[in-house]
Subunit: 273 residues, 2 copies
């Protein structure tokens, strides 16, 4: 293991849970160094960065080549303000020069069928909605990797799902289209630089041949310690991962309205059969 790889794995897993070292290169180093950034400089992006990011996004796999996702590029401050409001006031949405809203989009295929004088029986199903949401996620992650390769930073905004109907209204989305998440893109504010966040020890997530959770309590203890250390170094309050999970999903109210997502999706034209 070279020293760069050692340092990258230690940052990602904590010093007590470094996994075996496999092959390594500059792309993998970039992926390992990912950090979600929540403070941006106002500087604009280089010309046509958006088109490069979307080309990378469209190059991701898409189920049966159905391409059931779209993206709205938002730079208008008034629209970004609406998005920030939906997301409980996350200021970085207004700060970043480019805010992308990734869409699960079955409407394009529906329009195609209508123009061909037919309908698509397969569209109204949960499966088809899931395909569209997954397509959007694969595309978005390629955009993130491309952005980071250009020295840009990003953060996903899942909190757009707090009110997908309001997002749809603000972006003129037709029926059969839903904002799955947002993505802030811009240059990190160097005054608020964040560390790589440690993840669960690899054996807690990676199973061989069959699912086996027998070692999990020990891995969780290791991780609770690593994340507490990270929290002290970065936010000044020690919090175990365990406590974060309990806080995030312990009570329905912490879903911030997303417990109504199913009804909202039906309103947007996804029957979820």
């Amino acid at each position: 293991m070279n020293s760069e790889q050692q340092a990258a794995l230690a940052a990602r897993y904590g010093k007590d849970a470094i996994p075996p070292a496999g092959p390594w290169n500059a792309v993998i180093a970039e992926l390992l160094a990912h950090r979600s950034i929540r403070a941006y400089r106002p500087d604009p992006l280089p010309a046509n960065t958006l088109e490069t990011l979307v080309a990378a996004a469209q190059s991701a796999a898409t189920s049966s080549n159905m391409q059931t996702w779209s993206v709205v590029a938002v730079t208008d401050p008034a629209t970004k303000a609406v998005m920030a409001e939906v997301a409980n006031g996350q200021k970085h949405i207004e700060q970043c020069p480019l805010f992308l809203v990734f869409l699960a989009d079955l409407s394009r295929n529906e329009r195609l069928a209508a123009e061909e004088g037919t309908t698509l029986e397969g569209l109204p199903y949960l499966e088809t909605f899931l395909v569209a949401a997954l397509d959007a996620a694969l595309a978005a992650q390629n955009a993130v990797v491309a952005a980071e390769s250009l020295g840009l930073s990003t953060v996903y905004i899942g909190a757009l799902r707090n009110d997908v109907v309001r997002v749809a209204r603000a972006l003129d989305l037709p029926p059969g289209v839903m904002g799955v998440f947002g993505l802030c893109i811009g240059y990190e504010d160097p005054a608020r630089r964040a560390e790589v966040k440690p993840r669960l020890p690899q054996p807690a997530v990676l199973h061989h041949e069959r699912y086996d959770a027998s070692g999990e309590p020990a891995h969780r203890a290791t991780y609770d310690a690593a994340l507490s250390d990270f929290s002290i170094r970065n936010e000044m309050s020690a919090t175990r991962w365990t406590d974060r999970v309990l806080a995030r999903w312990g009570k329905i109210r912490s879903l911030h309205g997303r417990d109504e997502l199913k009804a909202a999706l039906r309103q947007l034209g996804f029957p979820l059969r």
Copy 2:
């Protein structure tokens, strides 16, 4: 635009729909060159490649750091045969040296709560299932980018969703865990090399400030021609994208059982409230 960028954009969009050229580098070139590969050599992967790919996958963003995904690495031929059967006999599942099954996994957080003597009210919702499926997708796409950077090829296997209950049984998945898709990883069979597949013209997918489908019919005509050309060059039968969409989702039977996904997910412990 340099000639490499020009060629990459022409391959991805067809020569009649090349988008404006933005910034460019080796990572973006790799992303643009993605091809899904369905024919593999039997050659094994370098030592600890799996651990490198999973480290890349775990480095992807995960909603609120909840890390609601896991992965089972399958190399056992008997299990791969089951997976291939679920996926309508896709032979590359048995050919590739490493088959990953990416899991939406709420069970780890559920076990955590049980060990802490409490329950998570937020788990039984459609939103929480969606978070887990999206987490799995972001992770998987990072694994794909890492694999391709190492000269490996991949293909997603969404057809595992034809029978998620059988997949769960074969992999000993506990309640609250679902195989979202598989991923073949290995070395491409050079005898069956595939071209980069063109995608829809960028303006059909990328919207500015508001969703606007007004130009769509023209973009679809351009794309139908590009995909027909691609089909002739690669598969010997000209098929428009339009016809592929109608064939994929026109009739319920072409969902191959995935019209029952909602009931199957409930059986696996996702109430989808």
